[in-house]
């Protein structure tokens, strides 16, 4: 579709060493981020990690203490909010309550003194695009949450922003509507081809929507990467824990083999972890082994390949599509394993069963131990 609203400037965004402090709180610290033109990037992290602050710094609503905001190759630090040419959808949508849907949607164009005929045509297209045709004379309070959300989106897109900034725009919706809007938002963003920066603390939402995810923790970006990259190859314990569920075994490097590192866990078990040739830690270094629950293989004693941890099943949780085994290794560590509830292997294990737990060496990740 190549409508007027379909045009976009597709700018790239670059943050360089951004910092912002509120009193004793370092809201954002030494943050670098590159967003390529047309990409959908999520800022993901727990509450209070600085996502909103980062977004507001990009928008120009908050002045950073240090660092540069560069949009479309232009340093924006001293460009006032209303000259940045961006779009913002806030969590509560911030629709103007005294304006109709039409007046809300056309706000940006009217402030730019666009020609009335032009405004009317583009507004019509935008309303059609977000499926709000016919509601243009309603006031925001007369709309459902999802409709309000689409008005906020149309209002942004109409000004053809260089970048679309979204601060938990789906946070106020119930689960069903939220999932429908995720699909809609993503297809709209792709259709318009706009650069989007999306703030969320919902990891599933980030995985679903994003081209790339920036995981934030205490004002810093811990890792930036494609969703599968973040999930399969987390670089820190925080990232592994925040995205999905993960088992951690703390231990020490005791030896190397070609393509793998041998670890003695604190409980005394010996396990192998696949490691790239470069960057494998030296002997004696404290490390954390991370394995996703769905990568664990739970079997009867003696059946498994090494390395294998003898363990006892403590609880079996049936969740429909899968079974979750809560396990306690003979060496003391607690583990959780998921097993797909497929026809070939129905639920077999009961609490108290003695098993061995193993995994392919390449399924485990070696993470730096930051606790020690």
């Amino acid at each position: 579709m190549s409508t007027a609203v379909g045009r976009s400037k597709m700018a790239d965004v670059e943050l360089r060493a951004i910092a912002k402090r509120y009193g004793a709180v370092q809201a954002v610290a030494d943050l670098d981020l590159r967003v390529e033109p047309g990409q959908f990037v999520s800022l993901l992290g727990p509450s209070g990690c600085g996502k909103t602050t980062t977004l507001r710094i990009i928008a120009g609503l908050v002045r950073p203490d240090a660092g540069q905001v560069i949009i479309g190759g232009r340093v924006m630090n001293d460009v006032p909010v209303h000259h940045r040419g961006l779009g913002l959808v806030a969590q509560n949508y911030a629709l103007f309550p005294h304006m109709t849907v039409m007046e809300n949607v056309t706000f940006g164009l009217r402030m730019r003194n666009a020609a009335p005929a032009d405004i009317a045509r583009r507004a019509g297209e935008a309303l059609e695009m977000v499926r709000l045709t016919g509601l243009q004379d309603r006031y925001p309070r007369q709309l459902s949450g999802g409709q309000q959300q689409r008005v906020a989106l149309a209002r942004c897109l109409l000004v053809e922003p260089a970048v679309l900034l979204l601060d938990e725009p789906l946070g106020a919706l119930d689960k069903k509507l939220r999932e429908a809007m995720q699909v809609e938002l993503k297809s709209l963003q792709r259709q318009v081809g706009i650069t989007a920066i999306f703030v969320t603390h919902d990891q599933e939402e980030a995985l679903t929507l994003s081209d790339r995810i920036a995981v934030m923790h205490q004002g810093r970006i811990q890792q930036v990467g494609a969703p599968h990259d973040i999930y399969e190859r987390p670089r820190t314990r925080f990232v592994a824990e925040f995205i999905g569920v993960c088992n951690f075994l703390e231990g020490e490097v005791v030896g190397r083999q070609p393509g793998a590192v041998m670890i003695r866990t604190d409980g005394g078990a010996l396990v192998a972890v696949g490691a790239d040739a470069h960057g494998a830690p030296a002997e004696g270094v404290k490390v954390v082994v991370a394995v996703r629950p769905e990568k664990l293989v739970v079997g009867a004693p003696g059946t498994s390949h090494s390395p294998a941890l003898p363990a006892r099943v403590e609880a079996v949780v049936y969740v429909g599509t899968a079974v979750h085994y809560h396990l306690r290794a003979a060496t003391g560590e607690r583990l959780i394993a998921y097993r797909q509830n497929d026809a070939a292997a129905p639920v077999a294990l009961a609490p108290g069963a003695e098993v061995v737990v193993s995994w392919p060496a390449t399924a485990a990740r070696l993470l730096p131990d930051v606790s020690g």
């Binding site: 040419g85 961006l86 806030a90 509560n92 309550p97 005294h98 900034l165």
Partner: protein
């Protein structure tokens, strides 16, 4: 407004309060419609005679005109002062913010007579004398808190994100003020402005110290008339005119904004 499921006793209670509040006015105004020279309620025979007498009395007419002009100017000035003050107090971090707000609202808790005397001494000692703007300044001081209070209440309840979003969408600070902030503050301004007008329009304790024969206001004139003569239908008639003006103003505002919206803000 009484709903149908309200208990009878509550309805009776409300009726009694309303009667208590309005009956004195009904009597004072009703007297004006009599034809007798002596104030009597209910009037023995109906006549508009005393309205004619009151409205051809130059003292009353001048005072009425003064009061209308004074209350109107007071309202405009309190808005011009109260609106920016409220905006500064809500959206900016000022030194001694709390103290500043308390100071601006303090005339509310100052006895009128005391303030009137103080203004009188100030105008005398500073050599300004009792020019018309002296009383205007005094009325603005006592009326600003009303506009400030209602506007602060509305502004504090307003999502800051609205103004921020307007900015991101390309509205300059001035456009944001004009298209977003001002329309959303209007209920507070109208309610506060109404209180300011009424405060000025029926003020006696401050006005009585600061008016001259030329700048006298209607309430002051009525009061001195009552001191020198007895209560007679002329006073009733001019009071009726005053009440009618205020009612007219309320009806006008109701037509434009809806009185429910205005009164609901007064209590915040």
């Amino acid at each position: 407004m009484a709903r149908r499921d309200e208990p009878v006793i509550l309805r009776l209670y409300c009726a009694a309060v309303l009667a208590f509040l309005s009956l004195p006015i009904v009597v004072a105004v009703g007297v004006a419609f009599g034809s007798d020279k002596i104030a009597r309620f209910p009037p023995a025979a109906l006549s508009l005679r005393w309205f004619g007498v009151a409205l051809s009395n130059p003292t009353f007419v001048t005072a009425l005109g003064n009061s209308v002009v004074l209350a109107t100017l007071t309202t405009l000035l309190t808005i011009v002062i109260g609106l920016p003050a409220a905006m500064a107090l809500v959206r900016h971090r000022l030194p001694a913010q709390g103290a500043l707000e308390t100071f601006l609202l303090s005339p509310l808790s100052l006895p009128g007579v005391l303030f009137g005397v103080a203004m009188l001494f100030f105008l005398g000692a500073s050599g300004f004398g009792l020019a018309g703007w002296g009383i205007l300044a005094a009325h603005v001081v006592i009326a600003v808190p009303y506009v400030l209070r209602t506007t602060l209440a509305v502004y504090r309840g307003l999502d800051r994100g609205l103004e921020e979003t307007a900015g991101v969408l390309g509205a300059s600070p001035w456009q944001t003020f004009w298209h977003v902030t001002l329309p959303l503050l209007r209920p507070g301004l109208v309610a506060g402005g109404l209180f300011a007008f009424l405060t000025s329009f029926d003020n006696v304790p401050v006005s009585i110290f600061l008016t001259t024969a030329r700048t006298t206001t209607l309430p002051v004139t009525i009061m001195s008339y009552l001191v020198n003569q007895d209560f007679d239908p002329i006073v009733g008639a001019i009071s009726a005119v005053q009440v009618a003006l205020v009612l007219g103003l309320l009806v006008l505002l109701d037509r434009i904004y809806g009185i429910g919206q205005i009164t609901s803000l007064g209590g915040q």
